[in-house]
Symmetry: D2
């Protein structure tokens, strides 16, 4: 039966990484709940998964609002099932010289990539601790470990999220909650990146970038691997990049 | 003459690290401007430095308010002199289990230790870039590189500040602004820590902790060293801990 | 048919991690070649795998001897098949105060854990580069990233091996050779550790350590995961520790 | 009087970093003992320092030979004075594709940059422990923390040396021996580098590289700073790079 491993709650789940993780975890036996600003945008994914015999639901949430996050988790726990896995995947890259980094931009980068991650991680923990089990997945980036030129806002937020993941892992591991931080040191093969590249160069990147961008399905497999580790050997952090990447 | 090396602007300068840095940089020829929530608390320090023949001024600032930070820097530049060195030293340690970490606590830890650091660093940069020189000093901690159990809020903020410092260093180094991040992996020998220890144990820690806490003067010396490096060999990050520390 | 994915060459493959990786990769379709100082010690494993319908061979090698390593790889390539995966797993933990660390001990720790890893990695590369594909697996430890008290010899060797793995990853990734470094931040659940614990405490650790040691099968799964990643998303480094581990 | 702070023993002290450290520590009151393969090459430096009223001596040593290192330290302790500071500065950069990295090259890189560092560090420790004080300085490089393409041999050795320094710091700090690891993330402004650049480009680099190479005097100042820290606040690791460096 679909979804008998419980709920995989995917927050900040868009059409790229979020959708790929949804497909992988649905296939793996989880009831998938995808949450983003506007649930309507996930309807296609939910239809696709449902048609394939999987259990999937879409929710609207502004993950930066504590009350919305709490309401979402309560609703899913009550009406759908126990949240066994939770992914936090929000965050928006931005590169600006320091003097052009407005306080608003700095705040918003943090609010979305770090603060919302704290709210989501803490809310998932509330339910997982009661059951004494669970898996928490955080999406990281190159900017999580390197404060590059122009990345004061974004890397500050991603460094901050990594600290949240580490602190959670150290506190919650002994309580049987597995916290994972995935360092994606790569461009991600998404519609968005192809559109940006085509706009900039006139070239359809799908033709030329074979394997130079990390596919969302590969990211989903990394999360799937971590989620299925037995508790005697848990991975907290792993990196991911294309073979051709310079690093 | 006192202060002929320009202004050392010390933000988040309290009675411990801030005061020690003020003494060191005053002695070294800088006009010292100390800024904290309530300038009145720095009056003793200003009197001490002035009596010793140094140039020192105290300012009130809430470093989390962009307008206040901008007004402070503008006022100092206009009425006192060019800001050649700027220290950001605010931040307040906190240790709580994840479920007791309120969103308010998480926000406030970040606002003070990270966001204010961005505001101060960016404002200092505005003036230093025009002159093509300057030194920016950031106070870090163990929590800047380790997300320990119970430190989701504080380490997230300190990781975030470290990213700001790194991004600034990479952008501004080639423009002759030296950005330093000091990792204080230690308890700091301050009145506050002695009072806490005495309250907890009844023992006056000053008698028993010889050299097990890092003295504020030693921290000031580390900043002084970095501030005086020639530009062919700049230190961006250095650690500091007592000889007896386990790490 | 058994072994149609080519040869998995496991060097420094003893009864713990080596045997578990052999089982996993045999099951996954590789012809397994296990090499250690004395091949006779692997006969039981080879018999077990052969009886289960898998292809397995044992070899004697002193991996610290360039000529022996070269002869081993040449023989396997000629008589068994193309080496598609190579694991380097040798290394022997040792903890001594600095003044009791003899030059011989320091040399031997390095020779086994680092130098042999270089010889094996380079020899595997020679064959993999010709075919334009391959996976190289290195076993790391806590000591790979932390020079702890008493670990001058062992951590020096393990730091050194990690550098070899990194340098190989950066050079060989673009040539389609995937280099993986697994940080095992844990005690490994092996006969050896149980005997040591029983000798020290009189307690049969198997009864009390449930999940506090990392099982060799979990380590093998981590390698299996990495080995099967598609080249658009390769993991170079991942950690592994029991849920209850303090770190 | 010259040299009344005891002996600064500088091993692997050539005409660049070694000579600069010798000048700084002589000026600071140490009797300087410089040791390298061929003492004759240090005669100019000894003459210069002696003429300036400082105490300086040159020794021949192959720091990769345990007996030679032991004899050197015994001789200096007996005939000159107590070794209060010891610098290990040997190591020779090399960049080769993996398949061109011979076992001999790999061994030699390690023997000089890592093994000799262990021998020297351990020998210094023997004398310092008896007196309950001392400072041990190790020269690191970018390759100490990054296994770059082509640097399997050199970075393996430098990673290994860093582990030695860390293990020593953790063991010996509580015994009042200060261990410092200096990460020089830069080209060093030496005769050797100028000759290589001129040979390659025909340009006299001294004219064009203003501040793009780190001056040996700046390196010496960093060591001098660390050597004079009080034990309540010791730096174990600090980086150093030109303002214009990309990193």
């Amino acid at each position: 039966m679909a979804g008998d491993r419980g709920v995989a709650m995917l927050v900040g789940a868009g059409d790229a990484i979020g959708a790929a993780v949804a497909r992988r975890f649905a296939k793996g036996g989880f009831t998938v709940c995808v949450a983003r600003r506007d649930a309507a945008k996930s309807q296609g994914l939910v239809d696709e998964l449902t048609a394939a015999g999987f259990a999937a639901h879409a929710f609207s949430v502004d993950a930066r609002q504590e009350a919305e996050v709490q309401a979402l988790f309560a609703r899913v726990e009550e009406t759908i099932g126990p949240i066994e896995v939770c992914l936090f995947n929000a965050g928006s890259n931005v590169n600006k010289p320091l003097l052009e980094t407005t306080e608003k931009l700095f705040f918003k980068a943090w609010e979305l990539a770090c603060y919302a991650g704290f709210l989501v991680g803490r809310e998932a923990t509330r339910y997982m601790l009661k059951r004494g089990r669970g898996t928490m997945l955080f999406t990281g980036a190159t900017a999580s470990v390197r404060g590059g030129k122009g990345f004061a806002a974004f890397s500050s937020a991603k460094f901050g999220l990594r600290a949240v993941a580490q602190a959670m892992a150290r506190e919650l591991g002994p309580k049987n909650i597995h916290v994972v931080h995935l360092l994606i040191d790569a461009g991600v093969d998404s519609e968005a990146i192809h559109m940006r590249m085509k706009a900039a160069t006139g070239i359809d990147a799908r033709e030329i970038t074979a394997d130079s961008l990390t596919k969302t399905a590969s990211i989903a497999e990394a999360y799937w691997f971590a989620c299925n580790q037995s508790r005697d050997g848990w991975t907290h952090e792993l990196d991911l990049r294309p073979s051709v990447e310079k690093w």
